[in-house]
């Protein structure tokens, strides 16, 4: 495994609620290397999204140590270490697709010519060249989500954090976007953290699969994928794929056995 990009040591996060403390994360240990594609899978409440948010400094752990690119998550956020993609595209309806991709660049103070160059490049990367002048409502859901990925890529962060980015899309669009995401990952060499509910999606995309379980949110299993980086869609019918999916399902079941 290559150099560690994200290192978590005994990360805990406890929310204080009216019904008492909720242990969203407990003693999470994980190292993510440069260029890894890591999926987080588990049932609701297992802390997969929360863990992704702590990496992004959108939540602060109540215990443990977390470093992103060798910095604290806060410092990494200021250093533009990551781009974040949510389940909904979250595009501004009053901005064109180009305008939306331009938004983080404006906030980060890129010059106008630099912005235009970057917008053109990432639109190309997500296969949306020619759609920059359209408004979000003129695009399909899948295209909108691609635009939001372009927005996350525009400022050249090494890490891409994706929280169920294709969860709201239908399966056909989802397959296409999964394929496109793999191509994009191979082309750019980004480190990707990917939260999902779907076993086939996790197995198809990842170099490593992190299985999590709830109450308290924790990692129950980390599975390294034996699949090659080059993955056509029909790899999902191969025995290796099916065996891996089975292993993930077993891991999920074990996690539930603790309840």
């Amino acid at each position: 495994m290559s150099a560690a990009v994200i290192e978590a040591r005994k990360i805990s996060l406890t929310f204080q609620t009216a019904d008492g403390p909720v242990h969203a994360l407990k003693d999470v240990d994980l190292t993510i290397g440069k260029g890894d594609f890591v999926s987080f899978i588990g049932p609701s409440g297992c802390g997969k999204t929360t863990f992704l948010r702590t990496i992004a400094a959108l939540e602060t752990p109540t215990g443990g140590e977390l470093s992103v690119n060798g910095m604290t998550p806060d410092a990494a956020q200021r250093a533009r270490a990551y781009g974040y993609v949510f389940q909904a595209p979250g595009l501004y309806p009053w901005r064109t697709i180009s305008g939306n991709i331009s938004l983080p660049l404006e906030i980060m103070g890129f010059s106008r010519s630099d912005r235009q160059e970057r917008i053109a490049r990432v639109l190309d990367l997500v296969d949306l060249a020619g759609f920059g002048g359209k408004f979000p409502w003129q695009l399909s859901g899948g295209m909108q989500q691609r635009a939001s990925i372009a927005r996350a890529l525009a400022f050249d962060a090494d890490i891409l954090l994706m929280d169920e980015p294709f969860g709201a899309l239908d399966e056909i669009v989802r397959d296409r976007l999964n394929e496109a995401l793999l191509t994009l990952w191979r082309k750019t060499g980004k480190t990707i953290g990917f939260v999902t509910h779907s076993i086939p999606e996790a197995v198809y995309l990842s170099t490593r699969i992190v299985v999590m379980s709830p109450r308290p949110g924790r990692i129950t299993k980390v599975i390294d994928s034996p699949l090659p980086p080059e993955r056509p869609l029909d790899i999902r019918d191969s025995p290796e794929f099916i065996a891996l999916a089975h292993e993930v399902r077993e891991g999920l079941r074990e996690g539930h056995g603790d309840d």
Partner: protein
């Protein structure tokens, strides 16, 4: 065509009810006059009389139309009998008050959205201010300003602002709070500053709400101005026109002033609607 027919039907129905009302309400006076002159009125003569009285209880539509025409086109616009002159006096105070009120509403909303302390301390007072009857407040405002030597436009504008700031405040608070957690998280993930979040996310999100509340606000400002013109013994403005009409039993004058005020309010709301369309279309929100 399919839309003009229902509209004309409704207008015709209103006019019919109005004429019947005028005949019914003015008939007593016509009968009394006839009794005093010891003559008998035929039904047709009675109806004709009810629709042509100088000081009817309820003037007939054509009398109000004539009054409006005379007030608008029949006078020099500098004349004290010109409705254009009075409408302008009211309009200028309305616009001044609307400007002050909207600005206050927007600024307070920005403060309330950004400060929990302001949310808890300002909002109750804003609500309380609207529960006070404006008819009770207006004379006090006029008197206080007059004692300080300020008369004319400003006191009326303050009353107009009093009524118009509230809808703008409520609408703007709602609008500035529309961005959801995800959109705010995105901004945070880019380490955006507070002003960047405000100018690029909160403010544009709030504009549809702002325009809706500006329409309510401008109509409220007009009401506020007219109420402000009533107790001042003001000699100019639609409110003064209403008051002097009621002193002298000039019902046609009252109704003419009322219609002018209604037309003015409709015009102002339409103007804001037009600006709203242009702005939202430029923002790509027009659909």
């Amino acid at each position: 065509m399919s839309r003009t027919l229902p509209v004309l039907t409704v207008v015709a129905a209103i006019l019919l009810v109005w004429y019947l009302g005028a005949i019914g309400m003015n008939a007593q006076w016509a009968r009394d006059q006839a009794a005093r002159a010891e003559t008998q009125l035929t039904t047709s003569a009675l109806i004709a009389d009810t629709l042509t009285q100088d000081r009817p209880v309820l003037p007939a539509p054509h009398q109000v139309a004539a009054g409006l025409w005379d007030g608008i086109a029949g006078q020099k616009i500098t004349s004290k009998r010109s409705l254009i002159y009075h409408a302008w006096v009211t309009l200028s105070a309305t616009l001044a008050g609307f400007g002050i009120g909207s600005l206050a509403g927007i600024l307070l909303a920005v403060g309330i959205v950004h400060s929990r302390a302001m949310d808890q301390s300002v909002m109750p007072w804003a609500v309380a201010s609207q529960t006070v009857p404006i008819l009770a407040i207006a004379p006090m405002v006029i008197v206080v300003f007059a004692s300080a030597g300020v008369t004319g436009l400003l006191p009326k504008a303050i009353i107009a602002a009093w009524l118009s700031f509230f809808p703008v405040l409520v609408g703007m608070v709602k609008g500035l709070r529309t961005p959801d957690g995800m959109q705010l998280d995105l901004m945070k993930s880019w380490s955006a500053s507070g002003p960047q979040v405000f100018w690029r996310l909160r403010l544009p999100s709030s504009l549809p709400y702002l325009f809706a509340s500006l329409k309510i606000g401008v109509a409220a400002a007009l009401v506020g101005t007219i109420v402000g013109e009533l107790p001042a013994g003001a000699t100019a403005g639609l409110g003064a026109r209403l008051l002097s009409g009621s002193y002298y039993g000039q019902t046609v004058q009252i109704w003419s002033a009322l219609f002018t005020a209604a037309a003015l309010a409709a015009l102002l709301v339409m103007l804001i609607d037009l600006i709203q369309r242009l702005v939202l279309k430029r923002m790509g929100l027009g659909g």
